[in-house]
């Protein structure tokens, strides 16, 4: 019963927090670029506007994929909040991503298909880092359950600093921020239009935005548990990472996908491996 309440709270409150964070993002980015920027609640206005538009589709199955993306992402977030197995949570998140990719593949559209290809590459880039983080956390807690992180009497950040840095790369990819916004950027057009999102519009686009809010919370949550001994510090840590991403986004240019693969697989995985190696040696 308790679990059910937590799930309901996550589903209801999640988007409020997530949308609010996206509002902060827009505002902060504007300030960094010398603009005034929209009100903090702009993402909610956008959502309502998109939702009230007529349903235009390019394929019969579009709703299936959007729903899959939304519901599996929510499920991943709920599993995380309930303290479930981190590996399975990552796999479920990947199911959401898979659904989005299939939606982009489902219609024969040059830009969407391009975006889909790149989205797979992004997934292939960040997934190993998430899983290595799960492995590293296991080496500290002897469990893959998220809830067991809270039983630890020291913050994970102390023993897993390099893993933490690698996770910041994942956060950048997941937030679709430069230099990794290659399959679809958060704002405006890019060289492949809006990549995976190109063929979505109206209510479908609204649901995709909603999914982002949940997704952001999940990734920030994984960063937050690096200071689980004091939840307030954990939240501050996650917010600091969030602000850092916005700054990086504004000072970095978008790079190409081969660069992303090389960077993430060399730097990101090396950081993780060195950290895990050290833990293994001093065990």
């Amino acid at each position: 019963m308790n679990d059910l309440l937590i799930v309901l709270a996550t589903i209801v409150l999640g988007p409020l927090v997530g949308g609010f964070l996206f509002g902060i993002d827009r505002r902060l980015t504007a300030r960094l670029q010398g603009r005034y920027g929209p009100p903090i609640v702009q993402p909610f206005y956008d959502f309502i506007k998109l939702w009230s538009k007529s349903r235009i589709v390019v394929s019969q199955s579009q709703s299936l994929y959007v729903l899959g993306y939304l519901l599996f992402t929510i499920t991943a977030l709920c599993m995380f909040v309930l303290g479930q197995d981190l590996l399975i949570t990552i796999f479920v998140l990947a199911f959401g991503g898979f659904s989005l990719i299939m939606g982009a593949y489902a219609v024969k559209s040059p830009y969407a298909n391009f975006g889909a290809q790149r989205e797979i590459l992004q997934m292939v880039a960040y997934e190993p880092i998430l899983m290595l983080a799960a492995l590293a956390i296991y080496m500290q807690t002897h469990s893959f359950m998220v809830k067991d992180v809270f039983k630890l009497n020291h913050p994970l950040l102390i023993s897993l600093p390099l893993i933490f840095v690698a996770l910041l790369i994942v956060l950048t990819i997941k937030m679709r921020k430069s230099p990794f916004d290659i399959s679809a950027s958060a704002h405006a057009h890019q060289e492949i239009v809006r990549g995976v999102y190109t063929e979505y519009s109206g209510p479908y686009m609204a649901l995709i935005e909603l999914t982002h809010w949940y997704e952001l919370l999940l990734v920030l949550g994984i960063i937050g548990i690096f200071w689980a001994t004091n939840p307030i510090v954990g939240v501050v840590l996650a917010l600091a990472a969030f602000v850092l991403e916005i700054v990086v986004d504004n000072i970095e240019a978008r790079m190409t996908w081969p660069w992303m693969i090389k960077f993430v697989w060399t730097t990101g995985i090396s950081l993780s491996v060195v950290n895990i190696g050290l833990l293994w040696l001093v065990r």
Binding site: S54, I56, V57, V58, S59, Q60, S61, S63, L64, L67, G68, L71, F72, T75, M79, Q84, D85, L86, L87, I88, F91, V92, A94, F95, F98, S99, M102, Y105, A106, V107, K108, S109, P110, Y111, A112, N113, F114, A116, Q117, I120, L121, M123, V124, E127, P128, L132, L135, Y138, M139, H142, S143, F144, M145, V193, T198, E199, I269, V273, I276, W280
Partner: protein, 643 residues
């Protein structure tokens, strides 16, 4: 319910009898009847064996002849046949390996003066029963499918006399040999049936008698004969050092692993050749020249599974040895490299082949990790991989006959054009790739089993990412279609195709929903007797490894919530459909996929997947990967000798 003797007789001898009927009675009706009845009988028998549980059994002598003698004679005859084949094919390797095996076997039987008979003849534990279920259910369904497929196949080839009699002889015989292999207790018997599967696969790969199929069949033969030599040598050293060839005794922990490490490493080496691990992957890749049912059979329920069966079966004997560590490293190496190689392939059968080798590598790596959890994961993978992989091969075979190509790029829109075949293929890929389906749950168990060997865990994790890449690209292609609101019309599809496909797809889904009770039984019955712990267990409807819990039922609930409402309620009106975005340069109409190119000339949109064949292709990886794999094999046998 029949007695044990009858069940074993049906499982082992019925395929031989049915094969002979197929061979000598050339009527297609009789063949169809025989194969279908055999399939049903084998499936029923395997289920009865499951219900009956583990047993030991020694068949009484037949017509005054001990079965050991009969097998010995048959074995010698088989080696003579291999020798004749070597001479006929003018292949030095096949010839030399046949002579070597004959010499070793002769020495074992007549030169060593140690009794080779073993009691009981059949030692059937839960692992054997699981293998029998996989062989009898998945294998039989493939044979049924083959009835329809071979009709099509020969129709395309315009043969004057049908070659189906010999085809079905070897297909059905294969199942009997596999059943016997997993039941046998005496390593000599295992070896004989091992060689029978080598013969069957050789005959089936060369079935079409084209130049390529002859070359590839010969390669399969020499590589597996090399494995045969290792197997024979393993038997010789085992007899010398352990004075027994009884699998039951070898894995019961009475003989310390260190004392018999050399024979064990040779047997594991034999398993590597049969399971097409690097550097032997080329025989299985070449085997795809055979008609698709052969590929399905070799890749899912027979042949390669004999290799991993031997390695998993012997795992309790080499637990906590350096051999075990090297097995883990070598398996993980193949898992990663072949997953990466699969990315560069656009030939669907080649992708499937690499995926098979990769999964077998994962199974072998689990055997090398050799904890209760790892062995549970290995057995789970054996079961669930067989089902989904068989399904995917059968689907690819149908698609190939429908569109005339096995290239993934040509499979664009198969789901829209042939919804039944297409959707089942997508189900096949999803059950291989995503949670909460059983293959992924097995992979999860494998990763959690590898935590105390972080280098192996790292390889598992990176390999999983590579796996995602090649599956997603393929399934995406299947789903791509021009914008349209026209309801899809189902294609006509033969009953002998639908039945195996539907059963395999249902098995893949239902066993995934029931994965918790299934793995609970695997852990309790097949693993706990040898490892003192089950390693994996059901926790309510979920699966627990002790260090993590895989959520199962809630995820199926979410999946249902995604699919059911859309299927029931969402209808797209044709006026809501828009063309794909092409910078406003679409030529006419909604579903035409043309855009205005240079000089307003209409041009078709043509999308293609990334394959990275320069970076990840066979040409760039095999050059160092094969030598590295050979080095690992040298380590496998070498470290042991050196110790």
């Amino acid at each position: 319910m029949g007695s044990i003797a009858q069940l074993v007789a049906v499982a082992v001898l019925l395929p031989l009898v049915a094969g002979l009927i197929c061979y000598f009675v050339r009527s297609s009706a009789v063949r169809t009847f025989t194969v279908v009845v055999t399939a049903i009988a084998l499936i029923v028998v395997s289920l009865l064996l499951l219900q009956n549980g583990p047993f030991e059994y020694s068949p009484p002598p037949m017509a005054g002849m001990e079965w050991g003698t009969i097998i010995l004679v048959a074995d010698m005859a088989l080696l003579v046949l291999f020798l004749a084949l070597g001479i006929y094919l003018k292949n030095v390797l096949v010839t030399v390996f046949a002579v070597a095996q004959g010499a070793i076997m002769g020495y074992v039987e007549f030169g060593m003066g140690i009794r080779t008979e073993v009691q009981p003849a059949f030692f059937v534990d839960e692992l054997s029963i699981i293998m029998a279920l996989v062989i009898s259910i998945v294998g039989s369904l493939i044979c049924v499918y083959a009835l329809e497929y071979m009709k099509d196949h020969e129709h395309h080839l315009h043969l004057e006399t049908s070659r189906q009699p010999r085809f079905f002889f070897y297909m059905v015989l294969f199942l009997g040999a596999m059943n016997a292999l997993v039941f046998s207790n005496n390593l000599l018997w295992v070896y004989f049936f091992w060689e029978v599967t080598t013969l069957c696969s050789f005959m089936l790969i060369r079935h079409d008698l084209t130049e390529v199929s002859m070359v590839n069949a010969t390669r399969a033969l020499w590589m597996n004969s090399l494995g045969g030599v290792a197997f024979a040598a393993g038997i010789m050293f085992m007899l010398q050092q352990a004075h027994t060839l009884s699998l039951k005794e070898l894995i019961s922990g009475q003989t310390p692993g260190v004392a018999i490490i050399l024979p064990l490493s040779l047997l594991v080496f034999a398993g590597f050749t049969k399971a097409a691990q690097m550097p032997f992957q080329s025989w299985l890749l070449g085997a795809m020249v055979a008609p698709t049912p052969v590929s399905a059979l070799l890749h899912s329920s027979t042949m390669v599974k004999a290799g991993v069966y031997l390695i998993v079966r012997l795992a309790p004997a080499y637990v906590d040895t350096h051999l075990s560590t090297i097995v883990a490293v070598a398996g993980a190496f193949t898992f990663l490299l072949t997953a990466v190689l699969a990315i560069s392939q656009s030939n669907a059968k080649r992708v499937l082949a690499y995926s098979t080798i990769s999964n077998l590598g994962l199974i072998i790596a689990c055997a090398g990790i050799n904890t209760s959890l790892a062995i549970s994961a290995a057995i789970m993978l054996i079961i669930f991989h067989a089902i989904s992989k068989a399904l995917l091969f059968l689907c690819t075979g149908i698609i190939e006959h429908l569109i005339g190509s096995r290239d993934i790029e040509d499979m664009e829109g198969v789901v829209a054009k042939f919804p039944i075949t297409g959707v089942i293929t997508v189900i096949g890929v999803i059950t291989m790739l995503l949670p909460p389906f059983a293959v992924l749950i097995s992979k999860w168990a494998a990763i959690e089993a590898s935590v105390n060997m972080p280098p192996i865990a790292l390889i598992f994790i990176v390999g999983s990412a590579a796996t995602t890449l090649f599956w997603v690209k393929w399934v995406g292609k299947l789903l791509t279609a021009p914008p349209t609101a026209v309801p899809i019309k189902a294609e006509k599809i033969a009953a002998l195709y639908v039945a195996p496909l539907a059963i395999l797809a249902a098995l893949a889904v239902v066993l995934s929903i029931l994965v918790a009770p299934v793995v609970d039984l695997v852990g309790k019955l097949a693993v706990a007797p040898y490892y003192k712990a089950a390693g994996i267990a059901a926790a309510g409807g979920d699966v627990s490894t002790g260090i993590g819990i895989a959520t199962i039922w809630p995820l199926f609930l979410v999946l249902a919530v995604v699919i059911v409402p859309v299927y029931l309620f969402v209808r797209v009106r044709s006026e809501d459909v828009r063309p794909a975005y092409m910078c406003g340069e679409n030529a006419v109409g909604v579903s035409t996929m043309e855009f205005r190119s240079v000089g307003d000339k209409p041009e078709m949109v043509n999308n293609s997947n990334y394959y990275f064949d320069k970076a990840l292709g066979e040409a760039s990886l095999n050059g160092w990967a094969n030598p590295a794999a050979i080095a690992l094999l040298v380590a496998l046998v070498g470290v042991v000798v050196w110790r």
